[in-house]
Subunit: 244 residues, 2 copies
Amino acid sequence: MENKIYVVGMGPGDEQMMTAQAIHVLDESEVIIGYKVYIDLLGERFSDKELLSGVMKKEVERCELAFEKANEGKKVAIICSGDAGVYGMASLMLEIGQRYEDIDVEIIPGITAATSGAAVLGAPLNHDFCVISLSDLLTPWEKIEKRLVAAIEGDFAIAIYNPSSRKRHDYLKRACEIMLSHCDGNRACGIVENIGRNQTKSKTMTLDELKDTEVNMFTTVFIGNSETVIQDGKLITKRGYLSE
Amino acid sequence: MENKIYVVGMGPGDEQMMTAQAIHVLDESEVIIGYKVYIDLLGERFSDKELLSGVMKKEVERCELAFEKANEGKKVAIICSGDAGVYGMASLMLEIGQRYEDIDVEIIPGITAATSGAAVLGAPLNHDFCVISLSDLLTPWEKIEKRLVAAIEGDFAIAIYNPSSRKRHDYLKRACEIMLSHCDGNRACGIVENIGRNQTKSKTMTLDELKDTEVNMFTTVFIGNSETVIQDGKLITKRGYLSE
């Protein structure tokens, strides 16, 4: 009998923002693996499961642990915040899965911060958009710079993930400076902190102001395209219906 | 008392892929407005509501209808497939909402086809990515072309929405030709049809093959970045953990 591991996107954190499918898969699981902060967000409902968090930054080991547990015959789910396939564990699980012929990997999508954060700010991604991570742990900074420039040149709205961390406190400033050398400083922007969790905070501002704004690792940043506006405190990228 | 209209992303269609929050909001609504095909997907659960679909392509009228119903004191939800803020009605509702001071517009996010389709194919968007619509109803084709080129030049993975329609049957071919003039023909790609509905179909292929593939309006198309691979029939954009 084939065994299956589910890689589950849990959305921003609030159970209300998980899909019924994701909740069902976790309900059926015996082992749930994920970063401690996500395990903690799951709450009481899943406290009877074997909950394993492993060590931060040991992603490969954490994924291998999932396959080992599945090999023991356990029903296993690995959880990711947001969507499992957007900077989540989906690709790594599929890669490692090549070594385990009898174990199937199924991806359960979730709501990623680009769209949950956009909903808080208004509708900043309501036309073509890019998603870019500023983390250079696995990506050379030159490549990130190149993508920021391409995104501005293509006039995309942009959602920025991982805009800051302890070691990368000035990365958002650097990213803004690069974008500012290709677009105007009054470009409409916004930030959202702790989406779908307690104390969600959001703010709209210009790109000039964003450059000097401190954000943390729980912030998602939005850069409008050339037509994005701030109206009544909402960040809106129009689709064009009213200008037809 | 302030009245509120919810703009609800229903995900790909299956109720199992809606969030608890979206289902709750629809349960509480008296009037649900949306394209007929989405209203039909809602099914029995909401059949006691006042269900209004309006006329195709009359988006402004449909949104105004929502405000009229809310003005009558009704609890109103307007539904969009996928996410309300990704080619959905969020921005238009916020724009029209400027004229209705007493009515608040709240956006309820949903799972957009980029991530639900990615989950079917494997993990094609597991690094920086762009979302581009090929519909030129509201966007000049030149702008779409420019974005396709920028997306390839920035080495983004790409999710393409609205790749085809009756009037635009050759648009995907045209888009592929533009991308092929900036990248190799063996770029890993995939398509998914009817995500989260009956008869979901998916297929991986090269960009050369995609150019000559017929798709319909219920298809989402994925173009890998330069490092995306097809392994065991899955489309995988690696994050780089295993090459550290």
